[in-house]
């Protein structure tokens, strides 16, 4: 029998190793952040982690500010925990912090850098980030894309013309683990999401060597309409229930 359901998030992430590259689902705020898995990662001894995602280290305080009328519960978490632990050596992100929100204290990445942590930051346009994850999942080592042409991102990069326009060579992001949230999942790993919280979760699913999903609800095999499966189980390796 195939059973991808794992008893706990810590068990699901026990093999995360020093130097691992981790793709993070979620958009960066409110629904869809794999909070249980972020919390479990913060309890794993691995260091020198690379976190890849849209905005995986904003911190709960910023999320609550940004979410306004949408409630962000206290148990919510993101990569801020890992920054606080000094587990992160690199970020590949679209938004490391948000300039537009004034918080009582600096954003987590700012605090970590100001505290002397040595963290590399690679800025990537959001859509290119998604496409570089998707390319890894699709076995495509590299592709050409237009965003970033004519900006600082073009510096030192391979530029190629197609039909009279410039494009940048973009490489797939090869990752060891992907952590995602989904609404429901079954023991084969089939997933459905909810609303706009699908976003980067469905993109990360299958893009890393090992994909771990936290789900609101585990359902019987066959309970998900095969026409409505958003992420077929082949993309998912381990499933845990969200721990609130």
């Amino acid at each position: 029998m195939i059973n991808k359901i794992v008893g706990s998030a810590r068990e699901a992430l026990a093999d995360v190793f020093d130097g691992a590259v981790i793709l993070c689902g979620g958009f960066g705020c409110v629904g869809g952040m794999p909070a249980t898995l972020f919390r479990a990662l913060a309890e794993v001894p691995a260091r020198n982690l690379t976190l890849v995602g849209n905005a995986p280290v904003l911190g709960v305080r910023a999320q609550k500010a940004a979410a306004r009328t949408m409630q962000v519960p206290d148990w919510f978490a993101d990569g801020e925990l890992l920054l606080k632990n000094g587990q992160v050596s690199k970020l590949i992100v679209s938004v490391p912090a948000m300039a537009i929100y004034r918080l009582e204290e600096p954003f987590p990445i700012v605090k970590a850098l100001q505290a002397g942590q040595d963290i590399e930051v690679e800025l990537v346009p959001q859509g290119t980030l998604a496409a570089r994850m998707k390319a890894a999942r699709a076995g495509i080592p590299a592709f050409y894309a237009r965003p970033g042409t004519g900006t600082f991102l073009q510096k030192g990069r391979e530029v190629r013309r197609f039909d009279g326009k410039d494009y940048l060579l973009e490489e797939a992001i090869r990752a060891d683990f992907g952590i995602i949230w989904a609404h429901k999942g079954d023991r084969h790993g089939n997933l459905v999401y909810r609303g706009t919280s699908r976003s980067f979760n469905a993109t990360v699913a299958g893009a890393a060597r090992v994909t771990v999903a936290e789900v609101d609800e585990i359902v019987e095999l066959g309970a998900i309409d095969p026409e409505a499966v958003a992420t077929p189980g082949i993309w998912v390796d381990r499933i845990v229930r969200r721990a609130v």
């Binding site: 949408m70 300039a99 976003s199």
Partner: protein, 238 residues
């Protein structure tokens, strides 16, 4: 005798933006003033709003009591369900952008140049930090974050900027050359501000509409590049 000058407030700028919505358009609204435009679609027109985080066809901004944390736009605003809506992955959302299916992208801006270069993701310039983004973030001063702006600016069919005409310090935001890091070169085709509507053309910036009481000279005084005046110049119509 001069009419009193009347700067448009944000809601009114958004109303002017919404006049650009044609029936059947797929529209992406950036954070700030642009998102407000979702509430002003003209009677009889149907527009489909696209959000980067995987939604198409949301209704509008949700009231507090409707707010659902699984229904939000890319500006983290709760949105409402509408018939015909669909949800999809982040990569598909950007396939739509990169693939040229977004008819109109309305973005906020820190600066727009007379060529239509857009600067809207960073308040500052990499050169100020010797190209070191980490050094920049470490300062904590407006830490840069690209988000989806570069993708939209590079690939939407039409890019409109909606913003205040000048900064809080009354510095012009419509400039000869952007001093902030740009989002994409030559991408903006229309600028809608609290005092003017300006078209970016191969011949330069053309002043099309002014706010009540504003003369072309008034607008020029707050604008760095020389404006051409449209012969059919008129007051901003809502």
């Amino acid at each position: 005798m001069n009419m009193p000058k009347h700067r448009l407030d944000e809601q009114t700028i958004a109303m002017r933006v919404a006049r650009e919505f044609q029936n059947g358009m797929y529209v992406n609204l950036g954070g700030g003033i642009p998102t407000l435009a979702a509430n002003f679609v003209a009677e009889g027109r149907e527009v489909v709003f696209h959000t980067e985080n995987g939604g198409l066809g949301y209704g509008g901004i949700a009231a507090t009591e409707e707010a659902d944390w699984d229904m939000f736009n890319a500006s983290f605003q709760p949105v409402t369900y509408a018939p015909g809506m669909s949800f999809f992955s982040h990569d598909e959302a950007f396939d739509m952008i990169r693939g040229g299916k977004i008819d109109l992208s309305v973005l906020g801006a820190m600066q727009v140049s007379e060529k239509g270069d857009l600067a809207n993701w960073a308040i500052g310039n990499m050169a100020d930090y010797n190209g070191d983004v980490v050094a920049w973030i470490r300062t904590g001063r407006f830490p840069p974050g690209i988000g989806g702006a570069m993708d939209l600016a590079a690939a939407a069919k039409k890019v409109i900027v909606a913003m205040k005409h000048v900064t809080n310090k009354n510095e012009p935001k419509i400039v000869r050359k952007c001093t902030y890091e740009i989002t994409a070169p030559r991408c903006v085709s229309l600028i809608i501000t609290d005092i003017a509507v300006i078209e970016v053309t191969p011949q330069g910036l053309v002043l099309k509409e002014t706010a009540p009481g504003f003369t072309p000279e008034d607008v020029q005084a707050e604008t760095e590049p020389i404006l051409k005046i449209d012969p059919a110049l008129k007051e901003i119509q809502l």
